[in-house]
Each structure stands twice: as C-alpha cells, then as structure tokens.
Amino acid sequence: MSDLIHKILLPLLYTVIIMLFFQLQAIIFVWLERKVSGRIQDRLGPTRVGGKFGWLQTIADGVKLLLKEDLIPRDADRAMFRVSPYIVLCGAFAAFLVIPFAFQWAAQSMNVAVFFMLAVMSVEVFGVIMAGYASGSKWALFGGMREAAQVVSYEVPMAMNIVPAVMASGTMNLNDAAQMQAGWFWNWMCFHDPFTFFAAIMYLVCATASVKRAPFDLAEAESELVAGFHTEYSGFRWLIFFMAEYASMLAVAWIATLMFWGGWNGPLPVAQWLTKAGITLGTWDGPSFIPNVGGRILGLLNFIAKGYTLIVVMMWVRWTLPRIRIDQVMKTCLKYLLPITCFLLLGAAAWPLFVRTRQGGQIGGFVAAGLLLLIVGKAIVSTPKSAAQGRREIVYK
C-alpha cells in the first residue's frame, strides 16, 4: 500500500499541485503586469471587474479568450500548428518539476537540477520555430526565426552566468545550493564575491532576453509587429503561449532566487531566533515531512515573494526602457554580454585562489575587484570604435 502511495499517488499529487500553480500564476501575472504598467505610466490600470483593484480582470480576459473563435489559417500545416503550443508549454512545465519551493519541497529532487531546468527550457524555442513555420505565413515565419536567433544566442551567456554561483556553492542541486545560503543576507551567493554579484545581475539581463521580455522583445513587439511568431494564433492556443511565457519568466526568476538570492531563506535568520526563543516552527533540516511544516511554509512564502519581486523588476524594466533593435539585440549578446560573462567566469574561478580569509581580506578584495570590474566595464562600453559604429548604423550607411 505504501508503494501505491509513493510510486503513483504522490507523483500524481505533486504534478497536479504544480499544474494548478502553473496556471494560477499566469492569472496573477497578467493582472500584476497591467497594474504595474498602469502605475509606471501614471494611470490606474484595470479597475472595473471585481472591485477597486480589478482583480477579476484576468478571469474576464480568460473567458474572452476561451470564447474566441479558434482560427487555423488555410495554408497552415494543421498538425504542427496544433502541436506547437503544447511543446512550449511542456518545456516550461517540466522546469517546474525540479524547483524546490521550500527545504526539500520539490516534486523531483535532482542532483543536476539547474542544468535540467536550463535544458528543458531550451526546448521551448523549438515550439516557437514550429509555430512560426506551421502558420504558413511569412510574417510569422520571420518572427519565429528572429525569436529563435535571439533566444538561442542568449541561452549561452545565461547558462554561463549561473556557473559562478555553481562554482561558489559547489553543487548543481538547487536544494543544497539554497540551503547553503541560510542565515543573514550576506550569506547569499550574490554577496559571496563581486563576480557572483555581477553574475547575478548579468543573469537577470540574459534571462529577461531569453524569455523574450522587453527591452529584448523586438521579435514579438505587439504594437508594431503584431506579436511575431504567434500572429496567426487566437483563443486558447494563444493563451497557452502566454501561460508558458509567464511560467518561464517565473522559472528563470526562481533559478536566480535559488542560486543567487538566498532561495527560501529570508534576509534575517528569523528561524534561528525563534528557535533560540524557544518557539519551534520545526527545524530546517529534519528528514521527515510533517514536523518542519511551519518553517517550510515560512520559507515557501519567502520564496514566492522573492520570485515575484524579480518578476516585478522585469516588468518595471519593460515599462521603463525602450525596445532595442534586432541588430542591437544580437550585438549586445555577442559583443558585450558574452565577453563580460567569460570575464566573470574567470574571475569567479580565480577568486578562491587569491582571497582565502573570511573577514578582512574578503572586504578588501571585494572593493578592489568591484573597482576593477567597473573600470573594465566602462572601458568596454565606451570605446570610441563602438560609438562610431553606433552612429553609422543609425544613418543606415
């Protein structure tokens, strides 16, 4: 009987919980995106549906999308047109299976969890290309190709920016990596050394680009290009693309949270204080499921809050910065992000060799390396050659 529970019922339960969460987060995000963009543009956002804050707006949107006619163009490759949204969805969903939501609360604990997440999320691109091709329209095809070029190139610096954190923590297991950062916030991996700090920021930039968010969303650009690869999609299939996009946003934000920003550990060691004061929420490192439930739920709330904070940062960037051109998108990746990432990688590898002591030497090294990074970054960004190239591109030769 316990076999029945462990081999069939528990996996089913985990999958159902994650699937429900996967769909609910999209509802929250669409509402949040509207509210955040409203605030940034000095307006109110949705206010009508469901009271003052318009919190039922997404439900109304969802109903609208479900009732829309499901169009398939006459020239489309029908089977592929139907399948491609599900490929994107599967890629995004599989990434959620290995995320530990709190200490050991993962559907599938895996030793190479970070690597697995990056791998399954790279499958999403294929659905995008398929959708662009199967639509039978040149518009969608070009959108898909641009999108593919962008996402494939940005995956390289994105994965390489995780490596400093993996080197610093010595594990690719997300659960262990996050548990290592317990305690005060300076135990977080982003404050481990200056290279991981810059890698954390660079990772966020690359992740924004690889999930096709503004300012890197030229391939989609709703206002000018009518959404690129999914131009021909409507109704439920379009909804699936969007759900997957929001889910992969959350997945990359959670990779950042787990590897760089302390995982489910809060900035203050609250759990330790409570234990000292005699209030036990349960210990953090117990092997069993039930006794630690209080501490883990605190961790879960922390984890969700951090993920959503990073998402709000992404939205903030989207509604603040202008969109960059497609050649600038590629140039940013290949000429700036990739060299900087390689430099950070080398620095993170060299760091433990030069700075051994925990206290004084570390702070000195931190400042020195930070200054060095700033100088190198300034030198890279403001070379006269690149400025001249930029001008020439603006006048279209």
């Binding site: 069939i8 791998a119 399954v120 593919a148 995956e155």
Partner: protein, 203 residues
Amino acid sequence: MIQTLINSWPNALFYMMALVTVACAIAVVVTQNIVRAAVWLLFTLTGTAGLFFLLGADFVGATQLLIYVGGTMILVIFGVMLTARGPFVQMKTASGEWTLAAIVGLTLFGLVSGTLISTDWSRTKKSEAAVKAGEGITEANSPTTMQLGLEFLGVPPQNPKISRDPAGIGYLLPFEIVSVHLLVVLIGAAYLARAKRRKATTS
C-alpha cells in the same frame, strides 16, 4: 494483483516511452515533408532523453536535451528553412537512395544488436551486488562500460579478453583524433561564414 501492477509500473513506463521513441524514429524515415521529419526527429531525441531520465541518468538525459534537442535540432531547422524553396516542400526519394539507406541502417542495426548479444550482462549484476555488499569495484566485477571508459582515458587495458593490445594506450589516440576532427570542422564552418561576409562588404 495491485502490488504486481505497481512493481511493473516503472517497466511499463519504460516500454511506453521506448515504443513512442521507436514510432517517432520510424516516422522520421517515412514522412515526406522535410520539416515534419525534423519534428519527428525532435520527438525521437526527446524520447531518448526521457528514457535516460527513467533510468535515473539525469545528467545524461539533460545533456541529451541540451545538445541534441536544443542545439542540433535548431541547426536542422535553420538548415531546412534556408534550403527549402517554397512552403511545405515534399521530398521524393529515389529507389537507389532507399537501398543505400537500408544497407547503412541494417549494418548499424547488426552492429548494435551484435554488441548487445555479445555483452556479458552478468557483470552488471556482479557490480551491483559488490556495491550493495560494500566492496569496491574491481576489474572482475566492474560494470560493462567501465573498462571502455578507462581505455578512452588512456589507461592501458588489462583484460586480455576485451583488448588485443595489452601494453597499448587504449583508445586515447583515436578518441583525440576524432575530437581534433571536430575542431577542424568548426574552424572550417567559421571560415566559410567569414568568407561570405567579406564578399558582401566589398561589393
């Protein structure tokens, strides 16, 4: 009854996955549309990754996804899209191509099945038992691929039954030659791409 069902559940999953993988592989060959063939190939490679995951080889599975599905398939699609003239091009295979492909495929199949049959599978059980009993893995009870892996790393082969050249350096030299070959291909590809761009700027 229920107990046996549960115990056979992983096996059933494995066979389902294997069946899907094989069916997709057949579809790659049978289908006439070149992009659809690429899509079936994607499903085949993903199915292979799924088999790795079911066998508990997470790293190999993720690598399979990242390298084959994420990398090669993108390359295939780009190639297909840049060569296809119109939308949804149908391919027609000549009978000569069929025979050639059949010969190559059957040869490979013969090679793989021959290796499968000639492998001493009892070694796997021996090494499992050794690990369970807490003994170290030795030459006698090492898993079937361990010797091969060591020989790729240049460890002189010690089992005369496996290798005919007991004093040699294993397979290090052929392994290195293959990797240098890959490097040559990479440089060649980069050179071709560069030459094209230079022409475009001078004209």
